[in-house]
Symmetry: D2
Subunit: 348 residues, 4 copies
């Protein structure tokens, strides 16, 4: 049972990851790739400056790039669209596809906090997907729009979901983020060699709000934000891939480090989506306090897993570190997994 | 009025910084340099693998290296010793000098939390120096031992001292530390290129305990630790010099970001020690949220200043970033300044 | 006797270096700064995204930025212009200033190999400056245009000039070039972290042609290119500043490494221009084969010197390494020095 | 037909690569691992600080580490030994194994240039293997010792072998070498961040001599060194893996860049050893002059291939760039391949 899919914004850094991840996907067949009007009509090979570490799949290289409009892909018989457009473009273009009835799994940051847009990580809050019913009522769309969170948010939230059973009340998180999170040209070499930058525009707000929506309760009509107090400081450092984060958490209960490790290790996500890891969160014990590390751990579960470690008690709660691959689990892989959930739940 | 000084452990990374900082010092004259017994008898140029970015001062290059024992420097008529020995060696060797009556300003980590050893930053807690009286009573030494804190502690504590007037209750801090903090060979290139390491042995405990001693009250007999709850996560990143730290703080009062910036900017330290900056803490406003950065800001005030920025409110308090040069203000410069305080206060 | 100078393209990376180097210059007073029309009318502080490691000089920060046209600086009474425009822009704009009679010392790469344009390094070929007479005859300009070579060329040519006395016949050179040579945004972090790029567009041709013009004979009418065979391979590596180069040279004579070192060390350039180092070429002996290194040696002579080392014989000649600061000696400093030569020789 | 193999020096960086490459090898079964006497008796997991990017194979983790002596592995029934001992240790220890009749494929640098020791790259000079007969005559060994060249040599020599048909006369080569070539702790982070080092002890001599032996003619009694004039300059840069090299070559004939590219692409090595790539040398055309790059190309053919590019004519010959993975093709993989050749040729 294959599903024909398209990628909106297929030539950019995240678009290239989509193509890499879709190669040999068990159920998705790539049937359309779009880009800006200047590239429309070119082959994908001509239009994309390919930078991923595996070659362009042969069948994609020769595909004709369509313009990013419903008309552009009208003849492609596509069932599901992945969007990796810049958020400004996405805010203008995504509604056009939704009005035409397309189902869109989007990595773009616009509308993530909109009340009628599901923001989902399939292993964490798959039930939020039914916000689509609210969305359809409100917007009159035949299609459906689902968003995945920001790369720095998605690194942390699975660990928080795993330990929320202890009554999560407060989160302080500092991030050490890789340059790929800013796109291919987002961070210049002169900015970051022998340096770190303690600010990423909008990132702290995304972590502080998206995490509370992801962990919130959905009652069939709306999502109530989780009431934990979340504060984030975000830093860019000279690593290529993999966001590392230091979390300080406080709880109503008083879990031990062993409790927290066990809760993370045994955390069960959604059943059996093709791209979800067997064990979502790998946890290093206190005999390996120097892990996780970006270069050594970012490819855990083909980049779709979360790796945690350094779990220790503090006077007020606990601290630990977590890590994920920011352009796989943190971007294209997150959208892809939401696409798999949309199929599983019958929206495609 | 010059003071004859010596350096215990003069050939290592911190020892070299001492020599660099002592060159042209207004009151200190370098009269003795010591190293391990293998190097004793060599000239300093022969014994040291010089790696600082200015040449070996001409008068130091030819100095004969003494063994690190009181006998080794017996003839040098030294009034004040700076110690940058490895802590294990220092724990064995420093007492011998103290028994002989030497005044020692030590960067080594041993005994920093001992009840009768002053741990001081001259601009923060110069009054703690009088613990020396307690120390002399307890140990029967004629000399005096004063310690400076760890490089990651000293980066943060001046900012905390400045804002303690608002009733500091809780501190969560994440560090992004430069490789030089581990010494010349402490971090291999294979460990850190395209990577970060979320663990530095013993560092978190140092930050959590030393900061509370530095901010504590001294009643003439003992130092009561500050009662703020401090928790730290320490990371090594691929920068050469300059520790950057993200601080989350909570207060009894409710200071605004403007209040906090003003308190830091106007913080007045000790009077007029030669190596203390005119303005201890430089603070970037919210129009430059991406500062401080290690490469751009580590040389503020010749590496003896603290640079802060990114001050923002959180639901529970505030967050901000701070930075200092870890091998100047965080090591050799810190000991040097304690030496200047010892002179000012009449202990030398 | 001060000279009023202007900078064409003052807000870019090289323009900022000009401003840094002109601060406290003994004879040059900065009287005009230009940029593209969008920035005209703004203060320099507003127009420039300042990234040099010293603050904007106070008197420059408030200067009004003019448009890069003769009309833009008509009222500024400027005697000498430094140009750091992109070469495409320079090719269009520089002639307009020359027709108006301005003397222009330009770092832009256009016209460097034009037969009537002096390409000079003051310590190497100051006599070439008199090509200005030919230029004025040919072009009918009242002004004068002088160019300095490319940053990779200027790193090598002083060493070649010093050893040309042995009958230089062949040069093979490989470069390890810093990212700043490509401008602030020229090399992205994703391109260069954990990587090297064995190609810099046009760079090899510049080294192969400019070096032969610089070393060529000027007979009062034209410059005959030096007849050495020069071939270059250029690489970008993850360093911030400082180009390191491996040279393989062959000679008519058979100089020893000692001969070559001595020739470099004793090389005397032009007399006493303010920005020329006392010793142009510093040479490491064979006891320090691992020098020069970019981070340790790029600031020799405030970045205006050349550092060489690793001189050894080969079967066919010799090999050695050389290094210079690419944005000081290799760009802004090179133009500045040509400006000093223009004054010394009476062209200003 | 499986072969039982052992690794001398199995816990070091190259030893770990051996273990990684032997996992799932079609014919080799790992039966013994040795280390220094301090580690003897421990399990491999205990003895090794594992740093390779795949987990320790389960069957190796529990193996008992033997001392590096013939007695240590006497009971293991091993047919072939791989040696990755430090060269000083190897010089002492390897003869003991050879006297006992072991066949040793060694990556250690001792004895590479000995007249009776074959230095081989199976695709280049497999016939040199018969030097073993000379070796047995001279030394009275029952065993056999074969060496592979240095990592910087092996990166270049396949390309030279491919183009030697044009009458190779002169080679100038500059290397940009990764830090892993110096072993795990060989290059400190303080040495190499924002830096390059134009010297690697002994490396230039190795390239200059080993390459001429590899390309030399073997007449059944001795290897005549190739008469090309080879000169090398070796640099360390901040890359993790992958040596990049710039080659300038001169020929008796006058091959075009197209001739050279074709010769490299069509170069046929030895028949069908399991670990030899289908195409030994991948060559980028002049539409991709910025390749090969270490991070993008080092894993070509699972790290066992050579990648070339940037082929251009010079006045005197040609220049091009080449690259190989220094710890796979340049070390463990090279020895492994020699082991496969030893089996193929009946020496095991």
């Amino acid at each position: 049972m294959s599903v024909r899919v398209g990628i909106l914004g297929a030539t950019g850094a995240v678009g290239q990851r989509f193509i890499q991840l879709l190669d040999d996907h068990p159920t998705f067949d790539l049937a359309a790739v779009t880009a800006s009007s200047e590239s429309a009509g070119e082959t994908y090979r001509e239009a994309a400056k390919w930078r991923v570490d595996t070659p362009i799949p042969a069948d994609v290289a020769g595909m004709e790039v369509a313009e990013t409009t419903p008309a552009g892909i009208a003849g492609d018989d596509v069932d599901l669209l992945f969007s990796s457009l810049p958020s400004g473009v996405a805010a203008e273009v995504e509604p056009a596809f939704l009005e035409e009835g397309y189902v869109v799994s989007s990595n773009s940051s616009n509308d993530r906090m909109a009340a009628d847009v599901p923001l989902t990580i399939p292993e964490i809050n798959p039930d939020h997907l039914d916000l689509i019913e609210v969305q359809r009522d409100e917007r009159g769309w035949d299609g459906a729009l689902v968003k995945n969170p920001n790369c720095s948010t998605i690194t942390m939230v699975p660990t928080l979901a795993a330990i929320d059973e202890f009554g999560l009340e407060s989160v302080r998180v500092s991030t050490l983020q890789a340059v790929s999170g800013a796109g291919y040209s987002g961070v210049t070499s002169m900015e970051i060699i022998d340096n770190a930058i303690p600010h990423i525009g909008g990132e702290e707000e995304k972590m502080e709000t998206e995490s509370r929506k992801l962990l919130g309760e959905f009652d069939g009509a709306e999502v109530a934000l989780h009431d934990a107090d979340v504060a984030a400081s975000c830093n860019r450092i000279p690593t290529l891939d993999g966001h590392l984060e230091n979390v300080f958490a406080e709880f109503a209960d008083d879990p031990s480090p062993a409790d927290l490790r066990e809760a993370m290790r045994s955390f069960e996500g959604v059943g059996d989506l093709p791209s979800s890891p067997d064990q979502l969160i790998k946890v290093f014990g206190d005999d390996e306090p120097e892990r996780p590390q970006p270069r050594l751990d970012r490819t855990y579960a083909d980049g779709m897993g979360i790796v945690a470690g350094g779990v220790q008690s503090t006077d007020a709660g606990a601290k630990y570190n977590c890590l994920a691959h920011n352009t796989i689990r943190g971007a294209a892989g997150a959208s892809l997994l939401n696409g798999e959930l949309l199929v599983e739940e019958g929206y495609v």
